[in-house]
Symmetry: C2
Subunit: 577 residues, 2 copies
């Protein structure tokens, strides 16, 4: 492709709306454009990357025995009502009506649809296992779309669904997908971790997330460097040691604490540690008021609370001040588990039940209670673990210390079990003619999000540095002076030669200053660079690799060997990357 013809509108200015590198660079390099918040178009260079990622995903899915198909993006309400997710998805689901006032959504995912598809068509255990996938545009009306392709409202996803006759079969499928995903992300050159995930609104049991590690990732991953434990912060089990569980219970006391409401102030006032407090959090959970009590030195994990309450996350929100005053009879900052004015659901983290002589809010403005003890002074529903993991927590698997890092969730795999087959009535007949619901799994890869994750891991201050395997073009030939006939002739000849052996080549034949061309070359991040300049008359060109310092001057023909070497190094085949 000649760059004089290529549509890649690069921007000199940094797009003001963009906060993270992938967002900025994909816009600046003309790989994508925003239409409205969270909705993007992929321009020619960007779409080439998308298609390369898709093809890698496709190859590995095919190899794992999954079969590709394509479902519609619009889906009727009925199948979502059957699973209970029409309501569960809340405002995140784009909804519409057709001309006959029938309700549809734009598919945020396709569990219901795939289950509905095979229902009544797959009837026998002999047709199992079955694994189907599609690569498709998905829709989620995010509350706060941000970070470009990381959290967008329209995005490209590969989603797969497995159907098995039993749990064992599902686990085999799960493992196959796990392995296929490892291959995909390895081929995409992503540095990633596989971590235990929370199943959330997907239902089902075990799940894992594939995290491309990145400082700008929205997910926090807790992992152990001493064993293979890794989990999202939403999921990670918190081992919390109570130090004073054998202390004697002292007499409860009311203490005047005027305007002392924050943990910091309380620590100072009572001259003790954060861990001696019982922190109360008031929520509205699906309409109901809930008070959760956790150790004062920890944060509450809202996902765990939702799971405990069995509600979707969008139905949980912190209560407003009015509600707090209503249930405690006191201003905010003085809520505690003892003597609440109204009957509310009180949920207590299991560690609270062991902590002796707690300081808690008094449910009276400007008062706290000290020496409060569970069972003697208050009771509630006990939840095993409501805590958010933090750096240096104890590894629940080996007892060593956990580390934490940020990641971008680029893939996930879920063991769904029979949630969808049960609710949609999708059944098969076993060897004895007995009906059973399919045992299912679902498996997603964020294709457009993977593109962003690659940019996050492969860029510098000058632009993107695509790994060869997904680069929009393999080679860029820059002509320093297009008015110099020798330079143009040599460049054109090389361009032709390289294209003929199956390479994807950009020829920068634009009538621009060399500086502009170099800047754009860095920005769009083509890995292999050949510069045709002054020494064209000697048949000498400059060869370099994006992101590496080294530049060498070589005879034109020599570049072919160098390029072949680069492909071999990356484990790629020139004629079929």
């Amino acid at each position: 492709m000649k760059m004089s013809k290529l549509y890649t509108p690069t921007l000199r200015e940094m797009p003001s709306e963009a906060e993270i590198s992938s967002h900025k660079l994909l816009l600046r390099s003309g790989m994508m454009r925003k239409l409205v918040s969270g909705v993007y178009s992929y321009l020619p260079l960007g779409y080439r990357v998308i298609r390369k990622i898709e093809n890698i995903v496709r190859e590995e899915m095919d190899r794992a025995g999954s079969q590709e198909l394509l479902m519609s993006a619009i889906q009727p309400k009925e199948i979502w009502e059957a699973s209970g997710r029409w309501d569960n998805f809340g405002a995140e689901m784009f909804r519409l009506k057709d001309r006959n006032e029938r309700d549809f959504c734009l598919g945020p995912t396709h569990e219901e649809y795939f289950t509905n598809l095979i229902k009544d068509e797959v009837r026998s255990y002999k047709q199992l296992p079955l694994n189907l996938y599609q690569i498709q545009t998905k829709y989620r009306d995010e509350k706060r779309p941000r970070f470009g392709l990381i959290r967008s409202r329209e995005f490209i996803m590969k989603d797969a669904y497995s159907f098995d006759k039993d749990e064992e079969g599902m686990k085999v499928a799960y493992k196959e997908m796990w392995e296929a995903y490892e291959k995909v992300f390895t081929r995409l050159k992503l540095k990633f971790k596989i971590v235990q995930g929370d199943s959330g609104t997907m239902g089902g049991n075990e799940s894992h997330e594939f995290m491309a590690m990145s400082e700008v990732g929205e997910s926090l991953v807790a992992y152990c460097e001493h064993c293979d434990y890794a989990a999202t912060d939403e999921k990670a089990q918190v081992i919390y040691k109570v130090s004073n569980d054998t202390d004697d219970e002292k007499e409860m006391e009311k203490v005047h604490t005027p305007e002392i409401t924050t943990i910091e102030d309380l620590v100072e006032f009572f001259d003790t540690e954060e861990s001696k407090f019982g922190k109360a959090l008031v929520y509205k959970a699906a309409g109901e008021t809930v008070v959760a009590i956790i150790p004062g030195d920890r944060e509450l994990n809202e996902t765990k609370l939702c799971n405990y309450l069995k509600i979707p996350e969008h139905e949980l929100e912190l209560a407003d001040e009015e509600t707090i005053i209503d249930i405690t009879g006191a201003n905010k900052g003085f809520t505690g588990p003892v003597n609440l004015k109204k009957e509310v659901k009180l949920i207590v983290d299991s560690r609270i039940t062991k902590m002796k002589n707690l300081v808690v809010g008094g449910n009276e403005t400007d008062y706290h209670l000290k020496n409060v003890n569970y069972s003697r002074d208050f009771t509630g529903e006990v939840a095993e673990d409501l805590l958010l993991v933090k750096e240096e927590d104890i590894c629940p698997k080996c007892g060593e210390i956990l580390s934490m890092d940020r990641g971008i969730e680029v893939g996930n795999i879920f063991q769904l079990g029979t949630k969808y087959s049960d609710s949609l009535g999708a059944k098969f007949l076993d060897e004895n003619g007995k009906e059973h619901p399919f045992v299912m799994g679902s498996y997603g890869i964020g294709v457009s999000r993977s593109m962003a994750a690659i940019v996050e891991q492969y860029h510098d201050e000058d632009g993107i540095a695509w790994p060869l395997v997904v680069a929009p073009y393999h080679v860029i030939i820059t002509v320093i002076n297009i008015k110099n006939q020798e330079q143009m002739d040599l460049a054109e000849k090389l361009y032709k030669t390289l294209e003929e052996i199956g390479l994807e080549v950009l020829l920068d034949d634009r009538n621009e200053r060399a500086g502009v061309k170099f800047k754009d070359r860095d920005l769009i991040g083509i890995p292999i660079r050949i510069t045709v300049g002054k020494r064209a008359n000697e048949n000498i060109v400059e060869y370099s690799i994006r992101g590496r310092e080294e530049k060498i001057e070589v005879e034109t023909e020599k570049t072919l060997d160098l390029i072949r070497g680069e492909f071999i190094k990356e484990g790629l085949n020139i004629t079929r990357v």
Copy 2:
């Protein structure tokens, strides 16, 4: 692929809802499934065909210098309001609101969006010409979705848009796309005609449609066998000869015609020919009542009437009886151009103005008027041509006789001019720094519809007979008895050999009777067939081609040459079809 693993749920029964062959066969062969009216999923075999069609389209578009990208499917109301099409599209447009109550549609086409994309990014004539395309799912909420993929509500389309600095440039782009389309449909093995089309709601001037000829096509094509004239029935110019234009004007007479309202009854009553009547049609056109007068022996062309009135077709409908009584003072069947009771827009086909001594409705129940003459007895707005073409009309180009056939519109090309660039303010600077709107063209190919058109042209009573170039697999190996080890071994070995040389092969290893396998083989329409049966022990297999009578028994190795011969005959390369 082994058929024991393949998900292609074939149906023995004919799907009752399907009226035409492509619809029936694509369902029966398990290539697609309906979700709701007009919305389909492509199952593994069908999606392979779709992807092959897409790749042919992609190759020819790339070759013609168009660049692929991908826009979002959801589009904000604002850009459609700017072009005036938010209202124009009517109920055919799927509309939705996001969580912030902002209006969007699901793109039925992308003129506005592409224009908006390049606006402010392409600023100079130096960046022109530019031609961009995408292959994407489109949405039209059809009033009567039918014929499966022929008229569906969600469909796959390739749409391209060209931007030029002047009319001349646009015409070059138009010609390039024309030629690319010829190549696409030729490669797809479709028998097609290129016909003049009506530009309708697209705006602009010239347009052509690529029609895959088929008895079940929804479009009628008028064409001349003596010259290259061809046009859709909506567009075809009607040459209508008035025979009595030099007759003397006789005195107008009122005639009592009790309960005589149809043309047949009138012909009998007045003992004359249909062509002596002036037929009146009453419409509601964008709220206004319109009476059109045309020769009694012809049908009115509603597209031409809409174009004359400059309204979209969904705003035209035949008036109800109440309206007719209101404007004529008479029952239905007695409407005419003379003495209408209310002032309405009266539009007269130009031929009516030359016809002498017409018989027309009297605007009084049970009365007609004879010897009515334009100008003397009534006047109205004169439209050049409101008539619908019919078989044996005169060719407007060479004067010979027109033929008519049905076709499926698989492609269209439009010269848009500046309709969209004007309304969206998309401008560039010319050599002298002066601003001009882009001169645009738009170009569509129905990908999913092309699949249906291919099936219409390539099938028999037993099933589909895919042309090799788009067949989901090239070869099917049928094992007569999978329990016979010799048969299975030979089949597996051949399967491996054929896959290794780059062929796409199905191995029917299912535990089914041979008859079932043969039926399915015919139904799914794989072109090259190899049967491994009794003579496996002699290394002899049966070779045949779908749709051809001939079957030959050959040594297994000989099939490779036969297959190569078939590829060469079809102009295809085995390693890259």
